[in-house]
Symmetry: C2
Subunit: 412 residues, 2 copies
């Protein structure tokens, strides 16, 4: 059960003109579950994405990157995205690349376009061969049920250890034009995106040039999916894609204009919502924890400290237990690798409670105040470094028995 | 119950001429348990140590460093080490320094020496005031039972969440002289020493000059305590001390001589044994895992990859489950931060089983072979990078339900 995250309602998810979604039960790993998704795009659509920095980057990620780099060449705009769950097609060597390309060839034939106009995505177990025959056999079924209002089913079709689908919509009026956007994401473990995320797709109906969309997707990722961590395990398959279908009257062709800023803010807010859904549904999560590091010299040192706290198993188990054993947070700050940090000026808050002052226990801190905050399901840790003006926020969850159970049992 | 680690026998622990050990039940955190240890040194002894790099380095560590730096000044050689458990005296600001210094003053008065001739150590909960009155009140009791053959009781006196005392002895004949050495260590959680360890003390009866001992302790730490991790949490109190009492006929005054090499190898082997005891008794550990990374460009990249595997909660839970979900190891290699790593040349073994070959699944790998190795309680992961001649070994344990239980419950 995800932390304070009610199930999205299918009725709240708005169709985006220029995108149709279809799914199939292809039996990739298990029978009787949706495991293939196709997103069919209008010819006016632009697509941009960011991907994992993991060196064992999965075969479909390598193919996606190559196809996006080919955008300026002859093959034409992207026509479809295809996603399978149940197998990551990572750590699969050359055979994996052959399988990912075969998927693109098969779908291109069905849609009568070029393979280079297809973007493939996979998620699931690493180091096992992709059952490409079953995947290809599922494609006609997915095409048969393509519909514009299939977003809820699409969110379900990309789930792995997720306990609930992750999806949200928003709309914004810019220059009198209403822009509508809908996104989906998946992921609950192996979550510490680095310049990308597990799987996230956000679509909108504005018309956005390729260069502007490339910029917008990085900006949104950096403020959303790149600020979350469940277990510090950066996946081999992280991909975050942004699609602008070009079907509304709003056109954005330049970075920095008022239209750009308004649209980028709105799409970033939606991405943040989707990223938070991943944390709230983190494997075994019982708490949603925001870590704010302020007054740093630069964003990099703030991130180092925030992630050091977020990844500490001792901090995470203390939150699971609602035990204000808060010295563990100081220890994590201390080993974060900020080698000239003067801890004698550092303050640390738990929500509104000042726990550590000038690097030591606040004389007025009382255990019962820490206890009160620790019992909540949403908690903010705030660290003030007193050495600059940079700040950052990272979102994470606790480490529970359930996390161990899920991951000692994932493949069975 | 520690992994394949029988309890040390008191009879196997050899006294070291020039050292007496005494303990007390001072009630630092709980009544009726040994929580104070004094090690009294002969005036001929030299002492060297390495300490945590955590910026929230504990008050006693700061005092130890200052006293060791003062060695060349007027105050004379170190006379005693004093250790308390139950409270780390870390994250305690100026009050913590006052308490650590007060401990030295009190013990110096009892021993009729200078406070600068005392080295203080603490371990336990962070961010809580040290009950210095109770500690000081325990000192006369500890002095009253000083004995040369108290090593087993000393190992018990420094335990916190350890399930068993950690101690070992060795002897070596160099130039016809028998050198005897005995060491103790403690630690089971918050273990990822960085240039030091939780708490480790190794003593020998050779006569070793200060400069040589400084060199020897770093060499031993780098090949033992600096190669282990349980949870990636570098403690605020890590300290590893080496003592040469100068009571045997062997004298070592120069680095690199045959005597130096023989003694350094022997004391490093003993330190490794003590470090392995910490992993075998890791919180909730059910497996002892050696991670060997070979054929790297330099030791640094080998360490990055080894620690990335060792800290991955997904890898650790798979080992707990004896589930050969070995793609998780590839993912951890991929995000280790070796940015120019060509994974297409990488091989990965589980003991003698070749799992991944040239960056993909070995076509001859069969799940039952992986399963067989995963069921063992001692497992070696071997990664060959095929890009150089550097190598490293890191030792770690798995992540079990018991780890979560222990750390969700530590202070109660």
């Amino acid at each position: 059960m995800a932390v304070n995250s009610p199930l999205p309602l299918a009725a709240d998810l708005k169709p985006i003109a220029g995108i149709e979604l279809g799914f199939a039960e292809a039996g990739i790993k298990k029978p009787n579950r949706k495991d293939v998704l196709i997103m069919l795009l209008a010819p006016t659509a632009t697509v941009a994405g960011v991907f994992t920095t993991n060196r064992f980057c999965a075969a479909p990620v390598q193919v996606c990157k190559a196809h996006l780099e080919g955008l300026h060449m002859a093959s034409g705009p992207m026509r479809a995205l295809v996603v399978n769950t149940g197998n990551a097609n990572a750590g699969t060597g050359d055979a994996g690349l052959v399988a990912a390309n075969a998927t693109c060839v098969a779908l291109a034939e069905l849609l009568q376009c070029e393979p280079a106009q297809i973007l493939p995505f996979s998620t699931g177990v690493i180091l096992e061969p992709l059952p490409v025959d079953r995947l290809v056999a599922g494609l006609p079924k997915a095409i048969a049920n393509l519909k514009a209002d299939n977003w809820y089913a699409a969110a379900e079709a990309i789930m792995t250890t997720d306990t609930q689908p992750k999806a949200a919509s928003a709309s914004i009026v810019i220059n009198g034009v209403t822009v509508t956007m809908t996104g989906i994401s998946k992921g609950a473990g192996m979550i510490k995106p680095n310049m990308a995320t597990m799987l996230g797709f956000v679509a909108m109906d504005a018309k956005v040039s390729q260069a502007v969309l490339d910029h917008m997707v990085k900006r949104a990722a950096d403020k959303s999916f790149n600020c979350i961590t469940i277990d510090g395990d950066t996946s081999t398959n992280d991909s975050f894609m942004m699609i602008a279908t070009g079907t509304s009257a709003l056109e954005v062709n330049e970075i920095g204009t008022p239209e750009y800023v308004a649209l980028a803010e709105a799409v970033t807010a939606l991405s943040q919502k989707l990223a938070h859904m991943i944390i709230r549904d983190g494997e075994g999560a019982t708490k949603f924890i925001s870590i704010v590091v302020e007054e740093g010299r630069d964003a990099e040192e703030c991130r180092k400290i925030a992630y050091s706290i977020a990844h500490s198993p001792l901090v995470k188990t203390a939150f699971f237990a609602s035990d204000p054993n808060l010295g563990r947070i100081l220890a994590a700050i201390g080993y974060a690798g900020v080698n000239d940090l003067d801890v004698s000026k550092l303050d640390m808050y738990l929500d509104d409670v000042l726990v550590a002052k000038n690097g030591g226990r606040n004389p007025e801190y009382r255990e019962e105040d820490g206890q009160r905050v620790m019992k909540q399901s949403e908690i903010t840790i705030r660290v003030k470094l007193a050495r600059g003006e940079a700040s950052t926020t990272v979102w994470t969850c606790d480490l529970s028995h359930e996390y161990v159970s899920i991951n000692a049992d994932y493949r069975s």
